[in-house]
Symmetry: C2
Subunit: 431 residues, 2 copies
């Protein structure tokens, strides 16, 4: 339980806002309608939506978001990195703003909830405050980050971590990040000016779909995110010896694909041998020369490890490398591990904000579960400059990055209500 007293303004506001009767609730239908409207930007003939960052659909979706922000009375701007930022004044202009938001760009063949729920709930929170004529102490800033799916581009720029070399990366639209930023109304040559200092925000909150199946399976309303896992990637090359599949006896083979198969099993076994929620994945594989009648002489595969602890990621990797050495000896093959520079460090959320989110959900009689985020998010970057919190709502069947992605209108509204209440609690608790 939160402690409070009756003698200070802090507790006055706290007692005022923490009563469920006095805090308004978001309009579930209005929120759902904006989700369905946004889904039309990039909708294809089969009813699925394709809105990769920098595409025409992305530009159109962003225009819709900007208009929605403007009719909600926000002061809207697009920064040099293409982030859409909507400001709402607070009573005290000297307080650092409370930030919240997410993204609206999609992975290719993605769904309409990843990022969109957090973005449109942020705007719905503003509209609900407007309707209830509530002005917060702190200024509020709604962030719709640019190109999250292509490397958390917008949030990286905000924390000064968008490297020059990243600007050359081309996504599935055919545009490089540099070209894309300019298409979004940014200015790729002025990215460094976007960086925020560590005292620029009071806190940052992100509502997001879980993208996993835990809440849905356990029938829990709200996930209180403890942290966002770190991600490390390696390219693994396995060299054997290509030879004729008909004329090379089983005993004389150096089959790189057989060695790779043993390694894939080892990745799974090593990952599961540790206590905890760590994950290890081989998602990509190629065998060369790749003909049915030739023993593979070389295999390339991807290795990804995620965990909240960098140390455990290292331990897991060492365990996998040891198993690779055993396979090398057994199979006459060689393994090479090349780290890939697309990785991120673990980011813990602020325990005080976790507590506020839990309380907010409790006030609304919503069940909660402390959990980690296995996916990367803009909040992960924002944690470099400000305390962050993340609220998860259920993903049906745990499906994400797929047109089958789905979160019910009730769950979206629950998340938006928790976000609204957490912002108001933060506004009062955190001067």
């Amino acid at each position: 339980m939160r402690t409070s007293c009756l003698f200070c303004l802090f507790c006055f506001y706290l007692s005022f806002y923490s009563s469920a009767q006095e805090i308004p609730e978001v309009d579930q239908d209005r929120l759902e309608n904006t989700i369905l409207t946004l889904a039309k930007y990039g909708m294809m003939e089969n009813g699925e939506t394709n809105r990769v960052a920098f595409s025409d659909a992305d530009l159109e979706g962003r225009a819709y978001i900007i208009s929605l922000m403007q009719v909600s009375g926000l002061e809207v701007s697009v920064d040099f990195a293409g982030n859409i930022i909507g400001k709402r004044a607070g009573r005290d202009r000297y307080l650092k703003p409370i930030g919240f938001g997410s993204h609206i760009d999609m992975v290719p063949n993605g769904g309409n909830y990843d990022g969109c729920v957090g973005s449109l709930a942020a705007i719905e929170v503003i509209r609900t405050l407007n309707d209830a004529k509530i002005q917060t102490e702190h200024p509020l800033e709604v962030f719709i980050f640019s190109n999250e799916e292509g490397g958390v581009m917008g949030s990286r720029a905000l924390v000064g971590e968008l490297k020059q070399e990243a600007l050359n990366v081309v996504n599935s639209t055919g545009y490089s990040m540099e070209q894309g930023i300019n298409r979004l109304g940014g200015n790729a040559t002025r990215i460094p000016e976007v960086e925020r200092s560590e005292d620029a925000l009071t806190a940052f909150l992100e509502l997001h779909i879980e993208q996993g199946g835990i809440l849905d399976r356990e029938q829990i309303d709200i996930g209180v995110v403890e942290g966002i896992v770190g991600i490390k990637w390696w390219d693994v090359n396995i060299k054997g010896f290509a030879n004729h599949a008909g004329t090379t006896p089983m005993s004389m083979r150096n089959d790189a694909l057989l060695a790779a198969s043993k390694f894939i099993l080892a990745v799974n076994e090593v990952t599961k041998s540790f206590e905890g929620k760590q994950v290890g994945t081989v998602g990509r594989i190629s065998a060369f020369p790749g003909a049915p009648n030739v023993i593979p002489g070389e295999v390339q595969l991807s290795l990804e490890i995620r965990d909240l602890s960098s140390e455990k990621i290292e331990q897991l990797f060492e365990g996998m490398k040891s198993r690779a050495i055993e396979i090398e000896k057994e199979m006459g093959t060689t393994f090479t591990f090349t780290p890939i520079d697309a990785t991120s460090a673990p980011a813990l959320t602020d325990p005080r904000i976790q507590k506020i989110i839990t309380e907010a959900a409790g006030d609304l009689n919503l069940s909660t579960k402390q959990m980690q985020s296995g996916a990367g998010h803009d909040a992960q970057d924002m944690a470099r400059i400000t305390p962050v919190g993340m609220i998860f709502v259920p993903s049906l069947g745990g499906i994400s990055h797929s047109p089958k992605e789905y979160t019910s209108p009730e769950d979206m509204a629950n998340g938006a209500n928790v976000l609204l209440r957490a912002i108001l609690l933060l506004d009062q608790a955190w001067f």
Copy 2:
């Protein structure tokens, strides 16, 4: 030991030819020179040769072969399937010809010995007979089969097995088989006329490099081929469920690549669990969607099994399918096996011809080993219409279908001498 008597013409010739002194030997240098000359047709700047069927290099190489046959006194023609056939009259025009030969087309990135040794040794045998002024009883026919590497096209046509649908297959030159046949001087609309009846030849012999490492490793001069393995191919599809690699706990995954890895190990284990020389190979694999951060939802891989016995191939396949069913249950994935119509039945060589080859080698003080051919050959098709024999010579390091392919001039000459002697023994033993 071969039995003989002194009272018949048969035994007169047999005793005449079987004495090593009286049978001429091939010209090792001349044979090597033709190998080196043929290698120039399609030679690239890096010194490697690229002579895929239907390419300009193939056309030029064939023109060289035709001229070599013509100066060797053969009556040369190109049949409707593009096979080059060189005829030499026998003493008895009513006897069915003895056929021998191989092919000169190459796989992409192949070597200068596969097919070429057997082709040029066949011509060298003719030149040696010419030099020694030996006329055989039987007519002789040298076959240089068209497009062996692209599906034993020429020999299939000769035995009436080149299907109409195969003519649409395009190889790496960009030409379809139909276009290619016409480029070679054949006529794709008249393929059926090429078919030979079952009594068209006395026998067919093919000299070939081993394409495996057994003779080289065991330092044996000549392989006496017992049979050419049958080949069966399947496309194997494994369905799991694609999901986010960060948000899906290890215990909630249906990882198609993990299931595929278990299956690849099972293919190896089942193949090795039987006595014999059978081989089982997974050479091609694709995982979908194929991103480092997505659990593979689907895998496609190739399965190939080869053995001299069709029954054993079936037993091996059943064993692998049983293991797939176990993996399905364990992993929550499904396996589908689709047979591919690029397979061939096992072909046994004629035991009488095996004996003649062994004797011929013995007369030349060459060591022999009975072995199977793990690779497919034109002789495999020819076995449908006539008794066949195959002579193997060592491949250095067992390497084949590679620019590193190599057989020494001595080994090539040994093979050619065994071929020559086997033809002469056949000529006398087999009216």
